[in-house]
Symmetry: D2
Subunit: 478 residues, 4 copies
Amino acid sequence: MRLAALAALAALAAPRARCQETPTERSAAADVIRRMNDLERSLALPQLVARVTGRDARRDAVVARARELMDRELLAMADDITRHPEVGLKEERSVRVLTDYLQAHAFDVETGVAGLKTAFVARYRKGTPGPNLGVILEYDALRGTTRDFHGDQHSAQGPTGIAAALALAEFLASSKTPGTVTLYGTPAEEIGSPQVKTIMYQAGVFKGADVLVRSHSSTGTRAPAPGFGSCCMNIDVVHYTFSGAPAHQLQAWEGRDALMGVVELFNHIDALRKNLRPETRIQGIITEGGKAPNVVPDRAAAEVWIRYPDQVYLAQVRERVNDAARGAALATGTKVRIDVDSAARDGISVASLNDVAFAYLKKLGATKLEEDPGRPLPYEETGTVATQIPGVGVTAHSSNGGYHTFEMEADALGEVGHHGFVLDAQAMAAVLYHYAADPQYRAVVTREFAGLKGLYGEYLAALREAYPVPAVPDPTGK
Amino acid sequence: MRLAALAALAALAAPRARCQETPTERSAAADVIRRMNDLERSLALPQLVARVTGRDARRDAVVARARELMDRELLAMADDITRHPEVGLKEERSVRVLTDYLQAHAFDVETGVAGLKTAFVARYRKGTPGPNLGVILEYDALRGTTRDFHGDQHSAQGPTGIAAALALAEFLASSKTPGTVTLYGTPAEEIGSPQVKTIMYQAGVFKGADVLVRSHSSTGTRAPAPGFGSCCMNIDVVHYTFSGAPAHQLQAWEGRDALMGVVELFNHIDALRKNLRPETRIQGIITEGGKAPNVVPDRAAAEVWIRYPDQVYLAQVRERVNDAARGAALATGTKVRIDVDSAARDGISVASLNDVAFAYLKKLGATKLEEDPGRPLPYEETGTVATQIPGVGVTAHSSNGGYHTFEMEADALGEVGHHGFVLDAQAMAAVLYHYAADPQYRAVVTREFAGLKGLYGEYLAALREAYPVPAVPDPTGK
Amino acid sequence: MRLAALAALAALAAPRARCQETPTERSAAADVIRRMNDLERSLALPQLVARVTGRDARRDAVVARARELMDRELLAMADDITRHPEVGLKEERSVRVLTDYLQAHAFDVETGVAGLKTAFVARYRKGTPGPNLGVILEYDALRGTTRDFHGDQHSAQGPTGIAAALALAEFLASSKTPGTVTLYGTPAEEIGSPQVKTIMYQAGVFKGADVLVRSHSSTGTRAPAPGFGSCCMNIDVVHYTFSGAPAHQLQAWEGRDALMGVVELFNHIDALRKNLRPETRIQGIITEGGKAPNVVPDRAAAEVWIRYPDQVYLAQVRERVNDAARGAALATGTKVRIDVDSAARDGISVASLNDVAFAYLKKLGATKLEEDPGRPLPYEETGTVATQIPGVGVTAHSSNGGYHTFEMEADALGEVGHHGFVLDAQAMAAVLYHYAADPQYRAVVTREFAGLKGLYGEYLAALREAYPVPAVPDPTGK
Amino acid sequence: MRLAALAALAALAAPRARCQETPTERSAAADVIRRMNDLERSLALPQLVARVTGRDARRDAVVARARELMDRELLAMADDITRHPEVGLKEERSVRVLTDYLQAHAFDVETGVAGLKTAFVARYRKGTPGPNLGVILEYDALRGTTRDFHGDQHSAQGPTGIAAALALAEFLASSKTPGTVTLYGTPAEEIGSPQVKTIMYQAGVFKGADVLVRSHSSTGTRAPAPGFGSCCMNIDVVHYTFSGAPAHQLQAWEGRDALMGVVELFNHIDALRKNLRPETRIQGIITEGGKAPNVVPDRAAAEVWIRYPDQVYLAQVRERVNDAARGAALATGTKVRIDVDSAARDGISVASLNDVAFAYLKKLGATKLEEDPGRPLPYEETGTVATQIPGVGVTAHSSNGGYHTFEMEADALGEVGHHGFVLDAQAMAAVLYHYAADPQYRAVVTREFAGLKGLYGEYLAALREAYPVPAVPDPTGK
């Protein structure tokens, strides 16, 4: 106890905002981080966490119900989906299993939302005006070299989310607590582009959600720090399509070789690397490389992923890669079409949600605890939703294998996975319970999220000053 | 008549060997061409042609039978195949139609020869020891953007060849002339690699054939000059497969990018062009360009077609392109595998066959006659068979559209096509008749072919001296 | 004699216009060539040559005077200049030797014309209104690896031209024939760019010249055919200068690498080659490749020579290479400056001058005679003067070594060189004599030149239709 | 005082070894750093510094003498050299000024050591067996765009070093303290390659030196941490020279283009960047880019600087760049010669010397003090000497301008420069005094240096395990 108090003091003294990755970002963000630390300190989160995780019989009942649902039916459903992996946008059986259950448990289901066949929304039939508690479900499998497989344990996300959602829904109804529960079935998380959650957000699917929870497989139990961040940098996915003019190989001068446009694009990208900040990551593949070598290819295409720790410099890099493509077209007498998908952006990581979830995972017996907060991480990978709606990703230790491995899939069917999934369901239920039933807690989440959102805008503005473009003078003659 | 005699004299005075395409080749071949002209002159072909095309009732019967077969059954079969196009190595229906007919007409059919499902050999059951008269049949369609189609009229080659073959077979049997007839069903002519006729030859399929005839669609009626040549240069088809090491895009230094091997190969080929003779043609496509841009590609591949008017310099070019690939692997820390398919070589063009066939086409009423002999052209595209067995490609005018067009396909069903196909069948029948029944003619063909074959070897030997490789000294320091 | 007459007839029957090098050019020029042949036939040149080279005592005196000047003084002067080689634009001693002699022999000399220190014009003081007979002198040496040297025998051009000019000048004065003589001292022929004769022409230096003669070393004695042509294709010399932004190697992202602009330019040129007609020749060097490897180069430059048999397609090629440079700048974030020097164009080759000069060379005992007319060749290398003023390049066999060799320099001092130079002086004197003294001959030259000039314009117009640029459609998406 | 004691305790508690720059290096070095911290702690340096910088009349006299020499003569000499800048290997006047003074003050001077005209060694004539105190002098100027200049204040290094050396020499003689003084005149520090101090070391010039001091201009007064490091990464300077075969541009196929070898080398380096660790820095320039664009270049060359924070991965990178060059030669049919100059390596930074020097600078009134130790920095830039002989670089604040600026040169002539130079001379004198006169101090320096040297070897051994090379499998066929 005393130690805990000391830790709490330490936490107050050394707040944890720990986001920016590069020296330039840290320098640009210095003032923002200072104010973020002020904001976090003002929330007195250790005290808040201590309060909400204290004695509460109603919460205990909700959490117990989530566990019961898992033990009785939903772990079995998770195993079943694990054994029937379906890759992104093809998860038809999985969706049927999940939505059949939801429809049988007082949820109205709408499938095919946002024009995506395997996306769905399930709304609690007995909800009332009040906080709209959202749960995100994923269910797509990975493409393996030998077979498709659930190496990310998305197979368990549906049943786990349903357990939390249903426990909450029953609580709202039975306790007449205002509010409702909505589940969002989001397919194809493992496919880079197009980003399904962005498409769904832009189609208005998430409209009305007040808070969002999602679980995920994990190799340890941890909570991210508050702030803005992403797992693996901000990402733009860009498609470059070149057109040329066909000609027989024997009269190649009558043609324009679109494949050379692509090859020069790759040369240009390589030529640029040295003059880009070292945190930049650019990787391309050639998706259309010509049809027949006895004809000058009149069409060729590449897909390029561009990553940088922040979206401001990323935009500069993307524009230079686009110029690299335009220069390739100009030089080879071809034409290029550029299609940009913004695939990942920093999202907002909310400590008042993260810390409560983590406290429950600890309390409920999660294993492989990592007490140090990690870098800020949003609850979904695109940042599109996670910069607009507060939420939390709950990740109890559920596998001893690495991500995207067959071992992680095997763990989904075993003790370590089952243990983690049940904890995830319970912790999500607990967080949603407090959000619905505790207006004071809800206000803190709202205040923190609003504060972080404002600071995010200021951070981006500061970054815009941090990357001046060098001036290139006109060349003089000899 | 007088005019013809004059033309014959002119032909003797100015023999027609007209092969080599580049100044270097012409210079290297000067002595060979002189001796080739001597050889051709010594054959007194105009006189020979006049003699064999003279009055001959048995020949007239054979030719009439070929026509009858076409008119009665085989033009209809050609139309049917035209209407059911099947692309290379998938010509199962076409092969069934052709072989059913052959089996019903006293031919034993062996399909799946040389390991190729749609290749076949049909041997006349009543053949006797003596000249083995061969007929090559092709039947594959082209891949079109909207549908597969017979834009090369291969659909008619089977029926046309069958008409000639059957007319001859019946003649041999009825007249008790020693000899037999064999048909060679060769699929996939329109697919560049692997070259089916080379595979079949190497598997021994053509063993025993003494002479080979084949028809083909044509936009005019002409005879090639004697000598060695090919329609579209000698060709090597080379496959370059690079392997690297995979790594996540974020730790790309742990990988080796196989796609960069391919990109550098393309750069190297372009860098080489300037230092290659201007008749060289190299065109590549990228057949495997990486799978996912968030992973360093560990495999990538290209297919490159290398062409040169002769196979000697072609070998130098190929070795330089191979070095370009090896240099790309060395530079990028990847490995490369090189698979070479020799796709096309000069074949031998035999005037004693060409000129007799052309004389018959003229006599029988072929349209769009071109009296000037064209460049030497063998009767099949790989040169593998056409340098080992004498033969003739018979090409009466059968279309007013271009090659590989829908118009040429339409012509196969119409007047111009039908007219040409019948003439092709008749002319092939006539040539085969003389070869079987006229030992003196056969001897001339044999002598010419042997002479040309010997000169071809000498030509290649001369070329080997014609392309010295420049010496590159070791670099000195500063 | 009879043979000669027969040859003359043959010449009438098969006129010699033999210019265009590529199939496309020959096809575009077909009508022009036909009319050129008509023009040439109409001149009845064999008869004309026979007439003017007949008996003529005054001509014999002029020719003898040229020989006397050579033998007495000017061969010695040639030897002296051969022994004191000076490279382009630095030929100060050579110019002094030549102009001292000219001033001492009744010529007014103006040096530094057209802003070029070692260019000069020498005008005969006693000239009268009438034909202005021009003589072009060159005197620059080659840069050798071990020393500068006269491997092109330009050292003898000045004395040879002076002999002819002075013999003519004396004749005009003594015979009171109207007319005058002007010598044009043109430096730096061996330096590709800038082209001195073009500069001098554009500065008006050649204004007033009616005909121009020039001698040159040769490995044989020949006459070019009439028409338009150049020794070694039409040439554009283009300078590409890239600017970037400097930065320390350790913070290279703050810079833009101008050298990468140049490297990408070379890549682009190589990428283009395949899609250019095979007669195209492009070769570049890097003239500024960066100063220090620990700094991102902010300046780099290349010089590229682009050649094609005609100037119309050359312009297309040049524009594509310029686009290659612009694309390189765009792709690398640098800027490029493009400076084009038009270095060589087809000039007009005039048979009524060439054939008379050749007839004299033969008659006077020139060695290594080549009776077949070569390809059309103008008397100077830029085409700028040779498309505006008729003239003749006189080239008696003067060396057994190759061009640009030390052997050719040695021959300038020996028997073979001296013999050739004297013949050159005599033949030039003879041609100029006829031009000045024979109005009928002058009229033929004028008519032929005007005709060829008109046809040249038509030829260029026809070529402009001969090279369509392929249409490249906008790329569609996936 | 109390504060100082506290600082001392803090120093003991949190030792300062702070070297390795990358996560991989830090992880590989973890054990080495731990033991380095143990070593440093065991030296009790704060106490040692306190002891030696305490009251000492003899030391005060030596320090005062150094100042007197500066004030009376040597600041004027520094100004004089500043006003006569001479660039690397051409510092003849500067060397004369310095060595004249040294010869006049009891030093024997040997110039032209190690084959370098402007290198010298000056040995005290009255030295006795005992510690050999070394002073390094530099005197070369920078190449400026408008003029050469002393933008690094090397002009003052000679006089400053002489003041310290002479004060010590006089002290040794007058006090009969065993030992001697040697000055090392090292030219051309500002020229990257070849590295003069490495050449001198390898020629045995530094043999016998026990300790080395050197001053340098600085924008602040600071002491480096103990350990191993370098200012600007480990560097290899590599020269790549390509040879090809010349040919006229019109017959380019008879040549092999050496410049394409260089261009492909640059392409390859760019292609490699992505698969190299992000701390890698590679920059090249093209030093020979071809002579004439109408000839295929048969020689071309590039100079490339390769940098990495440690020499172990640097060696991997260098080998890959070398393979990039070999691959370029293979691909282009040229040959390449590779000359590697190892230009900079981590040196050893000795706290027992650094801290004493820094304590004196503070005590004597140095401005712009930076109390936090910087990263480990050796006293000379190649690491060759600084890993074999202990030493210290003394850098009092001497300019408010940046390095390599005209402002820094101006400061060399002004108050801030003069103030710093005098302090440098005094601090160097004090350190050398203690080294000569205090065997206990000498022993600590020896012990620390030996310990660090051993750990350096272990660090390199650990790094050799830290960079596994990925395995690349042989490619399989289609």
